[in-house]
């Protein structure tokens, strides 16, 4: 009896030792860079809250027009200037249109323009910056001096002239104008990144192993800038949305009866003393988007590059 239990115990010890031995040689459980980053991001309370707020806003602008029955375009002067109520949570405008739906719909336009322009800015900036930083020498010099010259041009006239070239301000001209006016910083940052990375030993090693230039650029350099690019998306987005709102507010935006947050704010501007909610709602929406995007960018930077964190 005792001998049996003793044998059993010894056998279990051997089993444990064997499995442990295998585990020791085996690859540890894979914690990818991405999973680490997600973990760090979600532990950052401000960033997680901002991400939630951002998603709520995105959900609001895309889902509301589908589920709310009120039409964003039907004019009904009997309902003009209704204060916020259960039927019209954000009230109605001078034509009696429901502002809840219009804010959502306008937000959709704003957010879509924002994302489209941000992607375009990223593309142009990354290509330009990567070429400049990777080539170095006189080409880098020429490209950067050209960029300096563009920096000298004021943002607003630049965007306005681009819009004027297209004639009617609608979705795509808006995207182009915003891109043209604000891709510089991304290009500069990319160039800096590429130049820093170029000095890394693994880039030298790639050269020493016979890798051609495009392989070095696309396989070794660009993937390593991904963290910076993701952060920059969320830094550019608010700027672009604000730029769109700004241009719309000046009357250069989406033409009625369509709306964006900028045109909604402009509508409200004419009657802000008697009906302040009309301007307050789109302004708050813009602020909501910008603040949440900035906090997300902040959290992402800490999550993707823990070394830069100051605490």
């Amino acid at each position: 009896m005792v001998a049996d239990r003793r044998a059993e115990f010894e056998a279990s010890l051997i089993r444990t030792a064997e499995t442990r031995g295998q585990e020791a040689g085996a690859a540890l459980q894979r914690a990818s860079l991405l999973r680490d980053a997600v973990h760090r991001f979600s532990r950052n309370r401000a960033a997680a809250t901002a991400a939630f707020a951002f998603l709520v806003l995105i959900g609001f602008v895309f889902i509301t027009p589908m589920v709310v029955s009120a039409s964003p375009y039907d004019i009904n002067f009997e309902n003009a200037y209704l204060s916020p109520s259960w039927a019209h949570p954000f009230g109605t405008d001078e034509f009696g249109r429901d502002l809840f739906v219009r804010t959502a719909l306008g937000g959709r336009v704003s957010v879509e323009i924002g994302f489209a322009a941000t992607i375009a800015i990223m593309f142009v900036g990354i290509v330009y910056g990567a070429i400049s930083g990777f080539a170095g020498g006189w080409l880098d010099n020429a490209l950067m001096r050209f960029l300096d010259a563009l920096y000298g041009l004021p943002y607003l006239p630049f965007a306005i002239i681009t819009l004027a070239i297209f004639g009617t301000p609608s979705f795509w001209p808006m995207v182009v104008a915003l891109t043209v006016a604000s891709w510089f910083t991304t290009a500069r940052v990319m160039r800096g990144q590429i130049i820093t990375l170029k000095e890394n030993d693994y880039v030298r090693a790639a050269h020493a192993l016979g890798a051609r230039w495009y392989r070095v650029l696309f396989r070794h350099l660009l993937p390593n800038t991904l963290g910076v690019i993701i952060v920059f998306v969320f830094l550019e987005l608010p700027g672009v949305v604000l730029g769109e709102a700004f241009l719309s507010f000046l009357g250069l935006g989406i033409s009625p009866p369509k709306a964006s947050w900028g045109t909604l704010a402009q509508d409200g501007y004419s009657s802000y003393q008697s009906h302040p909610y009309i301007i307050i709602v789109p302004s708050l929406a813009i602020a909501w988007l910008i603040l949440s995007a900035f906090f997300i960018a902040d959290g992402l930077r800490d999550a993707l590059d823990p070394r830069t964190r100051s605490y």
């Binding site: 040689g25 085996a26 690859a27 540890l28 894979r30 990818s32 860079l33 890394n200 030993d201 693994y202 030298r204 090693a205 790639a206 050269h207 020493a208 192993l209 016979g210 890798a211 051609r212 392989r215 396989r219 070794h220 993937p223 390593n224 991904l226």
Partner: protein
């Protein structure tokens, strides 16, 4: 015909202040299957020599004159594309810092197979299989399982082993190791050196090992070149160099090694060489070591640049007062 012949190589860097003579007339040759050690302090041109051989001199640097003949053909007048084909296939290179030599965004497997697929045109499966073998060859435990890990899961010594595996992937004829152990712990260093020696013999490669650690070359090299301020000051077989160093600089380097036992053990301080190496922006036309040389100043030897001469068969030295000649009139000199 030696595998690698470097003759009067001069690599200069153009800067705003003038030309930096990083490598100034270096010549040596390396037979197949042999190991050459290049030693010298920081900034003496060791690494630039290696990069010149590979055709990878960075930035404003340029090979000004001289020749590099590898495997019967000049490396200096080949086209960039030809060089790219040679690098990694016929000449492998290992860098100093294993922590930064691997791309953090690619798996170890990808980085090994990259070279195999690039040079040997292997398909994905064959390359993966070969990569596993290579990892086993450099003694990475559970090689197959660790192929898909990212570099941050490898320790410094393991990363250097991976770098060695990558450098050896295509069975190069020549392996250039630029300070392969400098960034590693001493115990890990020994392991990596053993591995290098073992693999060099197995693959029958020639090896150039660049270091500032006399201990490293003592263990691995057949011949040793001592560089100072862009020039070779002494060139001899390893045994000869350690037994009878001729150049005052080599003597000083060896004296600076910490001794654990024997008659030279000193209490307390380590021995150092006084002074600094000369500025390579405007290297003196005179003897470059003279300002730090304890044998200079008693005659006019400091004023002329000594030639590299063969003081006895196979032992070259660039000094007016090599040790074996010094003895004869040492009494008068000191």
């Amino acid at each position: 015909m030696a595998l690698l012949e470097v003759d009067d190589l001069k690599t200069y860097f153009k800067t705003r202040e003038g030309e930096v003579h990083a490598v100034d007339g270096v010549s040596f040759s390396l037979e197949r299957g042999k190991t050459l050690g290049i030693v010298g302090e920081s900034g003496c041109g060791k690494s630039v020599t290696a990069l010149s051989i590979m055709g990878l001199v960075p930035g404003p640097g340029r090979v000004v004159s001289g020749s590099v003949v590898f495997d019967g053909r000049s490396m200096l007048d080949r086209k960039q594309r030809e060089l790219e084909d040679i690098r990694g296939r016929d000449i492998g290179m290992i860098f100093q810092d294993p922590m930064t030599s691997l791309n953090p965004t690619l798996t170890i497997g990808t980085q090994i197979t990259e070279t195999l697929r690039r040079h040997l045109k292997l398909n994905r499966d064959a390359a993966r299989k070969r990569a596993t073998e290579l990892l086993e060859e450099v003694h990475i435990p559970n090689a197959a399982g660790r192929l898909d890990d990212y570099p941050h899961r490898y320790s410094g010594g393991m990363r250097q082993r991976v770098m060695i595996a990558i450098a050896l992937a295509c069975n190069p004829k020549l392996l250039i190791a630029d300070e392969p152990t400098t960034a590693l712990d001493v115990t890990v260093q020994a392991g990596v050196l053993d591995l290098l020696r073992e693999l060099r013999a197995e693959h029958d490669m020639a090896m150039v090992i660049i270091t500032h650690d006399m201990g490293v070359v003592a263990e691995t090299a057949d011949d040793i070149v001592v560089m100072y301020a862009g020039q070779i000051v002494e060139h001899a077989t390893t045994l000869d160099l350690f037994d009878t160093p001729e150049h005052p600089y080599t003597e000083a380097l060896l004296a600076a090694l910490p001794q654990l036992e024997g008659e030279n053990v000193r209490e307390g301080r380590l021995v150092s060489i006084p002074g600094r190496p000369p500025d390579l922006l405007a290297p003196p036309l005179a003897c470059r070591f003279a300002p730090r040389c304890q044998y200079a100043g008693h005659d006019d030897c400091a004023g002329v640049l000594p030639a590299l001469r063969e003081i006895r068969p196979g032992h070259w030295v660039r000094s007016a007062h090599p040790a074996s000649e010094r003895a004869a009139h040492a009494v008068g000199a000191r």
